[in-house]
Symmetry: C2
Subunit: 137 residues, 2 copies
């Protein structure tokens, strides 16, 4: 999702487009991978000294709710990234830099056959490791 798309989505849903919100989305737009609330706070702190946890977490959840960010949990901490809205896919996640690579393979069609009487609500398929760039370093 493009930065401008994300900002427009906030407007479209009737939420205010504050400077902080725009900068938050800018951060994720530049990051292009999973980042934590802490990462975001560190990014915002110089410009918005004393920014409230409340503001950060509330907006992260808002962005997740309206589909502007997507979230996953890595070693006990929530991580966020800008939404990939175009089609269903999964991610390789680099444990060093948090950047992701799309994986277009999803085995759910096959899995559903094996779970006949089960009510499936969600699934998670993630691959972890080190990306080529971080292997160099």
């Amino acid at each position: 999702m493009e930065l401008n798309e994300a900002i427009n989505e906030i407007k479209k849903q009737g939420y205010k487009t504050t400077a902080k919100r725009k900068d938050m989305l800018q951060f994720f737009d530049e990051a292009d991978g999973y980042r934590t609330a802490k990462d975001l706070i560190n990014y915002l702190e110089p410009k918005y000294e004393g920014i409230s946890f409340d503001t950060v977490y509330r907006n992260l959840h808002l962005f997740d709710d309206i589909g502007v960010l997507e979230t996953t949990e890595l070693n006990g901490e929530k991580h966020f990234r800008i939404s990939c809205t175009h089609h269903h896919h999964h991610h390789f996640i680099c444990k060093d830099c948090g950047k992701t690579k799309e994986i277009d393979i999803c085995p759910m069609d096959e899995v559903l056959k094996a779970l006949d009487n089960y009510a499936i609500e969600d699934h998670k398929f993630e691959i972890y490791g080190v990306c080529p760039v971080c292997q160099e370093a």
Copy 2:
């Protein structure tokens, strides 16, 4: 993994087989699904009044380290279950009762082809929903 196997593994690795440890494994043996530290404490509390968090968490990590338990993270809380050691597989996890169903489908062979220069270290494939038993209730 059988309860006795698990207890023997503790001995084999040179750790002491205390009554608390046996009861902890008994809990997971009966549970046959994912449980939290809190669940375990509730189970142990009547018999061992005032059992220490330290004891519970230390042993959970020990059991994970020596491969007697396996772990996953569900909505911000670590969950543990007795290890499935026989072969590689994944799980459907019931969000009501925590019980699991083995899924023998794993798409990693195919995925590896798409990640040529990536150093893959781990992967997670989990399906969430409600099991047939919990759908009745």
